[in-house]
Amino acid sequence: MVGAGLAGLTAAADLAAAGVEITVLEARDRVGGRTHGIEVAPGAWADGGAAYLGDRHTELHKLMAGLGLAATPTAMDGGSRFALGGGEKTRAGRFPPLNAVALGELFDLLYDLTARVRPDAPWLTPGAAGLDAVTAAEWAAGALRHPDARLFFPLFLGEMMAADPASVSVLHMALYLRSGGGIRYLNAFSGGAQQDRVLGGAHQIAERLAAQLGARVRLNRPVRAIRQDGGGVSVHTGDGEEHRADAVVVAVPPLLAQSIDYRPGLPAPRATTATGRGCAVKVQLVYREPYWHAHGLSGWSVSATGPLLSTVDDSPPDAGAGVLTGFVTGAEAYRFAALDPAAREAETLRQVGELFPGLPPPDAVHVSDWVNEPYSRGCYAAVFGPGDWLRLGPGLRTPHGRVHWAGTETSTEFFGLMEGAIRSGHRVAAEVLSSHATLWREP
């Protein structure tokens, strides 16, 4: 198994349970990939990576239950703050101070696109070539007339996909929104994809799976080359280790899968020059308590200018800390990630001061920079650019001899989410077991 993220560890656990002898090679010095815990106060954790889940994330819920992990609701009671031009405003609920009819027209168009895409095979969508040839930015320039719709669309896409509209194809946008349950579900907290968090942090899922797998998981083992011959497959790591196997699963994001050297070479690429990496930086400000509640605010804010395009209350439910999480996404994430730490903190504090006047200075500021993570390169997930679904889609899950593929980007269900990663793990484990009958050992 290459990669100890949720996909790789889920698959490894399934295979180990079936009696398969398995080794997990992980490039980093930790497991969990795009989930990562930050200890904001002694024993209190926040999510520097993936955080949110909803009731439709059924495989994630099952996995958590099996590992003894519970969900905790995301608190959204109170008013919201908006800085969408013309100063900051407070509103009850989450509805922005923008023209509602214009936003309705935007959502109508997104609904139509989402309904059109074929969820199991987007490349077979009627008119797929046309939809895949256009970026979301080009589409918006032609389709959106009202300035409020044009202002809100990139913010919405940033929240949903951490994508710059200029780098995502319309077909990918439609697939992503469809596969996550539609725009209402993806956008919603209560009753939607942000309803809950993992109590104590999402990083515990991978940590508990890895603990069960024990010495099978090897850290600091970046895989560089995969060679197949008549008798099996050799997996080579950066420091020259060779691991011999009957089959290998590559459970890493597409751009990283593409950068491994395969012999014989791949018949179809895992990523192209158009394949983007979603861009997200998460900033966590830690306070003694969630002071904004006393002002009747939920902590939710949306701003048209960065760095923090949105903020949300991420306070651990029972521990003594208030956590405000800011999202820097899309093109703004590239700009912010290039700043030095002092400049990042100064920009963050200035903006939070404007959004939440009267908030005392935070006790700590944590920045999770996924843009510069060499072993993620795509956060929240890879962003398929123009032409990608037509080129990459048909072979997304097709094994290359003894090489099998997993990872959230191989799942057309809940693509890009933890749920998609876990589903891909179960899928690939079943695939390996059925195609390599000799792997079975009687337990």
Binding site: R94, F95, A100, V101, L103, G104, D108, R184, A188
Partner: protein, 73 residues
Amino acid sequence: MNVYQATVLFRRVLENPQVTAESDFFHAGGDSLLATRVLSAVAREYGVELTFEDFLLAPTPAALASTVTGGPR
């Protein structure tokens, strides 16, 4: 816009055939995102542009129909 037309519109946007003239949009599965789709349909089909706050005051098909028929503000 009559009450029947408003009820049909709610049912379509909420994908909920159980909606009646007195159903509250936000108790029948609606949220602010879906509310904007009601408002865009009202603007397109009846030529009346309502605000989100107007809708909060008229969140049932019966109330919405009378707000729309009451004419533009």
